[in-house]
Point group: D2
């Protein structure tokens, strides 16, 4: 048996190719839209993809299952569990086979036992693999967003992004039952191959080791160590990160059927005059340091942070799914990479790009910078307001006393909460998100904005007072 793991750093998403050496048949689990990578890897092993599946209707990226199965003329196995709200709308396509708990898929000598593991979502499946060439003992399981390394899939997303109400607690209890059944039935030496790694918003505490073992998780994973259902429910519903707004759209698109991308496109270069089109969303992908020196007002600067890993998620917070998108970039190479990233979350409507240097300088504005000392001093004198755009858990761990707090992803929907009586100083942790917030507000017509680019980290370095008051729930 052959197994290869694919990991997308931006999505913190893992997918898997497995194949049988004896028959040359292969299967892909939880693919994203970069489907060429799976086809290439199978071909490198002289294997042929005959099956594609996914553990559940993903919320954080657009699934590549449908396109990969069509391209490779494979069978697409989709969950038939969950109630009518959770049925795939494209299940009637000829190559789809619906599967339920207890079903078995065979890929050469490899056997996959289908387990229904609801909780994160109602239709969620896990696949237990047995390499029958070796033994009838299971080798491992693809657990999707059921069990992660160090955590479990959060059950609160339906309420928080899919428009459901009061499903969180029920989901948490269902998840507890799923965990009980699965962990009891499986041997301790079972390998766990989850769909996400550290940094994913599908859980709160995912670890940095790519794989784990059931017996070890029982010892270290907080969720598997809970003594009572209630302890688990309380734990799993607290401390979860804000789910990005685009998750809702992902859920919908993955259920309806992700659009077939087909040939990848390289967006064309546009004249700066194209930026005048008010109906398009303009995203500036240059580094924060460049955006500070000059940006096009009206664009949103999802400046690539130092590690470039948050690009897809941060863009998902702000970019609309019903508008054309234009990119401002320094280079064609970055522009193409950004286009591919946006496609990974279904933002397919990139109509072109504008090199920043081609924009006439009289249409450029720069970010007003303010030092920590200046900002704090003026705040003390009542001359400015301060806006903290970090996430909830960061805010609760400590913030500057008296600031307004709105996570940067919610700005557009909470404009009314932003004080406008004085100049506004924006900060995040260390200067990656504050330029985004600045350009978002500038686009909405705000003026008198300042960025405290040193961020909360810079504030701490000055030895300023820290407020650790928790937010009301």
């Amino acid at each position: 048996m052959f197994l290869k793991r694919f990991y997308d750093e931006q999505l913190a998403h893992a997918s898997y190719l497995i194949g049988c050496y004896a028959t040359g048949e292969a299967m892909v689990i939880d693919p994203n839209r970069s489907i060429d990578q799976y086809i290439q890897a199978a071909s490198d092993e002289a294997m042929r993809i005959i099956a594609v599946t996914e553990t559940h209707i993903h919320a954080d990226f657009l699934s590549g299952s449908r396109e990969l199965a069509q391209r490779t003329e494979s069978t697409l196995y989709l969950s038939d569990e969950g109630d009518t709200d959770w049925k795939y709308a494209f299940a009637n396509e000829p190559n789809v086979r619906l599967i339920k708990h207890g079903d078995v898929i065979e890929i050469g000598r490899i056997k996959l036992d289908v387990w229904h593991t609801p909780g994160h979502t109602p239709e969620h499946l896990a696949f237990v693999i047995t390499d029958q060439a070796d033994t009838q003992e299971p080798l491992g399981a693809f657990t999707g967003d059921f069990i992660f390394v160090g955590d479990v899939g959060r059950p609160d997303l339906l309420d928080r992004v899919a428009g459901y109400k009061d499903t969180m607690e029920k989901g948490a209890r269902t998840l507890y039952q799923s965990l009980q059944k699965f962990t009891t039935a499986m041997p301790d030496h079972l390998l766990l191959f989850p769909a996400h790694g550290a940094g994913s918003a599908c859980g709160k505490a995912l670890g940095g080791v790519p794989v784990s073992v059931l017996g070890y998780q029982k010892k270290v994973n907080w969720a598997l160590k809970c003594k009572t259902e209630q302890e688990f429910v309380d734990g799993v519903l607290s401390g979860q990160p804000e789910p990005p707004l685009y998750f809702k759209e992902m859920k919908r698109m993955n259920k309806v059927g992700p659009a077939i991308l087909g040939p990848l496109k390289i967006p064309i270069q546009l004249l700066p005059s194209a930026l005048a089109n008010k109906d398009a969303f303009v995203i500036d992908i240059r580094p924060a340091s460049a955006v500070r020196i000059g940006f096009f007002p009206g664009s949103v600067g999802v400046a690539s942070c130092r590690l470039c890993r948050s690009f897809a998620t941060w863009t998902g917070w702000h970019a609309p799914y019903d508008k054309d998108i234009m990119i401002i970039s320094n280079t064609q190479e970055d522009m193409v990479a950004a286009t591919r990233s946006m496609e990974s979350i279904g933002l397919d409507h990139v109509i072109g790009w504008v090199p920043f240097d081609s924009i006439p300088s009289n249409q450029i504005e720069k970010i007003n910078l303010i030092s920590v000392e200046d900002a704090i001093g003026r705040n003390a004198l009542g001359e400015v307001n301060i806006l903290d755009v970090r996430g909830r858990s960061e805010y609760e761990e400590g913030h500057i006393p008296g600031v307004t707090w709105i996570p940067f992803g919610y700005l557009e929907s909470r404009l009314a909460d932003i004080p406008t009586d004085k100049p506004l100083v924006i900060h995040c942790a260390g200067g990656n998100r504050s330029p985004i917030a600045y350009t978002v507000l500038r686009k909405q017509g705000f003026r008198n904005l300042f960025e405290m680019s040193a961020g909360y980290k810079g504030y701490l370095a000055t030895g300023g007072e820290v407020d650790r008051t928790l937010l009301e729930v």
Copy 2:
């Protein structure tokens, strides 16, 4: 004044960007469809393209004028000379301005005087440049297919590819008059910037120096040295290479209006089963050496020759304009390059590619190779027929006695002329075109084929007899 020359090796095609340093305005002359290169170069010089033009309706590549002008929101200057058969069908588009002999275009301080120079085609223009920042004396001229380095544009294409009759001699005489007028009016120090270089089928003897001077051409260019019109007419109508069949289609498309390419596409990978589609044209772009070892019967192996320069032209001879195209390749990189090449001559219908290694080995056939000695020996014994697929001039310079001669581009249309009573030995000059001919005939159902891959060059090395009989006209 700034001037940059762009040269496409495959098309042997030169285009030009000129710009005025004083105003930052720029113009492009005779662009091909790789329009990004012009936009990038202008941007590198901090210039902005405001005008695009072309010397005539090209026959050998698809023009990029229309798309470049649209993309850059430039004025597109098109010839209004020639009779009704030679009017651009998209001349009514809002950014088009029709021009005639005597018109003047100004790009900052640069002046272009429009000259009507018919002969190669009836609507042909040349543009005389004056850098008014320096002097009122002309600096040079963009001569298109009017005057080349060492040659002039052939006047026989209309008859030979565009379906006209008996226009050759008239065209030749018109061209002579155009030459007389132009060369008399212009100073000897005039720089000549033609649209083609060595290897183009738009003339017969283009030189390898990219640029020349009128005074020097008067001394060395056979066409400018003719003492009488008749000498010129006889000269220009003899010895021209076979014009590729696709030239006809190019003329039509360039007149009607080349399709707008928009975002470049990267064709998707297909399963080998896609090759069963008989309605698509399958082109194999791997090197000849690889095709010999194994090819898919039904594909045409336009194997990249050693220098890779003939790919577009050789493909143009064989690929249809009304069918989907599939590519067989070793690598995605080559496949994308081939796709771009085909787009340069309007073959836009690439629907996907198949990696050669993914084709099941039982669907693969190899080319039967035969040595020169064996082929000649068996030919002497009457056991085989020999087919020479080189061009007319190569054939006339010397060929193996008794062979059948059909240029490789005409094979599909002359199947009936190919002897089938004995095994057929195919050869070209040195093994670049014979695999194409082999696969073309194999696709048409021929069997009992052999490739003498050492070619005529190999034959000469054996000291064999040479027949230099000319073909009847």
Copy 3:
């Protein structure tokens, strides 16, 4: 805790980066010479490499430990186990710390317990990892060539490549004891991270899943299922693949101290006349299909096989460590990749490359090809000899009756065993190794060679008789 696995397909070699999120400190285990990859990955995680180690003195690739530790100014932990023959000669370098069974290394909150696990080699160590941020239970172990997925490290290499005598059985027994101790002491849920994957010559049956669990291996790994020491000893000493000849050199160099590569170099292009230098080793890296059509006699064509994975190993069989190396290639890109591959096994003396197309055609020879039918027919008539160059296990699984068998890696040392009374037909399994054998013999002055490129696979397809006689031990 962060963990990242690096896998080199050509060496079938796995190395690991682990890091502590709390302190940002990181460690690398069993690095190869591509040390930039570890530095980059640590930097991507905002971590800093402070320690480097290796499980043992590797035989199949040149270790990057020394250079990585120097470059990153890290502590280099080296085994102090084994007798005086197995001491690192560079252990006195200032950043080296010698370690023994029972020692503990701490990287932030991560603890590595050092286990002495002799058998594959006398000084072999395993590192048991505990993520003290989570628990005091061990999480997994870096097992090097001690326990693989589905196999264990072979104990016969010292005899077979390092010049030792009669150590095989003793090594096997030692290994058995090491396994007993380790597997008894460790929990079933222990993750196993070995140094090799499928295809490595350091074992005979490595699996295609990158990671495994002790509890599962106890059920499926033949070596852990043996009931008696003797059963294990018999098993581990039978059926091992031929170890490449270069293994001996690797052992020596890794013990003495691998040369510091420093800045990577891009070999220069040489004139074809350079090939006349008889003191240099000339390697042709073009595909087998190209080599067949034309090669430079005197070069050895380690034509990249379809999957390109055997390049380093196959080159190691033939290239000398005491000569300059010249590369014949089609492209600079391939040439650079081949140079890097050769560096991975210590072949650092590449002095330049020659593009194949620049070699005058009169210095080129082609491989004589023969069909299976022709070869078998002539063999039956006693007109030719057949040479099978596959490995021992392939030969024993079935071969053409009456052939001479010499694995392609031993040809140079067994020239006297090759029959020269008749034309010689060379074959391997499917045409990847036969061009190497052909060019090796051609270089040694053999003539009258033929390649049966369809190989044993092609022979089987004809339904020919199969001889399954085993070789004498």
Copy 4:
């Protein structure tokens, strides 16, 4: 005859490959150190380089003649004109042939007549090409730094960079005589192929058209239109740009014999601690916008300007030839490109690079920015000094009243002239050179620095007063 022009944008340097189709022999004129490009181009044309030459001992880049001739085993033709000070020190190498006025070089059917054309330098040659396949009339000339498009080579470099005294006027008169002789002897239709294009510091007014014609230059080139020798002398000695300091070193190295680069090297990544080495020169190649936000004090930020064209020249102003060099970069790709650029001017001692992001933040400093309004206001109040680091001609065209003027390339040698009594505001034209100046002064220990990044352009936009006083000569 084949001719190809190579143009290096950073050096504004043109070199040429010419070849004879009949014999396949080729020659390179004035190569730089990127010698692979010439070998590749010759190979693409199936030609073989048999000769290399240069017009003179270049001052602005390191010549590739010696290495190219050695690599291709060609004859290297070197000037034997000029007095003993101007003899090549490596003329005794076996493949060198010395040439003088009147000598003839033949490359197949191509003839090069050697003309001695002193003035720019005493040993300067021009090569008049005749394509004898066509005619005995000359086709063109490689004029080196003798005649440019729109200008002539400056005769003042010997005094200004090579340590000579009072040679300027003599050189100018010699140049005048050379021009008289050459332009009188040559036909008006002669093509001129010079060694430099727009932007070169080897002249003052080079045009943007790559090629010109003698007859046309006689009409528009100021130098060829002078009526008297004195008019020419006065003209050619006025208004020349400051020659970069590294020119002196180039002259010396090109005369002594440029080092053979051999295999290109990719510098290794170093730990930030390496930056503590005070004996090395640290160059930061990140964009100005990034340097402003954070730089390592002690590094010199030759930030790539918008067009990236000045990198080599600007680095040449500051980098020492006798020290190791370390690069600070964002990416390996940029670092390698910068290394190649530095090699083009002989800065071969790059020992490694440090990714900017790996430098601990407490070792980073940011550039203090100041707005034009603030700077001018404080200047009026006597609170700051202003330093203009633009070139002489820019300064004379207009400057802010009362500023100190030191071209950025002379800062290190004129530290004593920089006022230190008040904070210092540095500006250039538009923000490309001011970060260099800022980091140079910071490295020298200056404090209280501010950058007015909007530059003189920004000053003009405020409508401020302009001082047009010329500098004393």
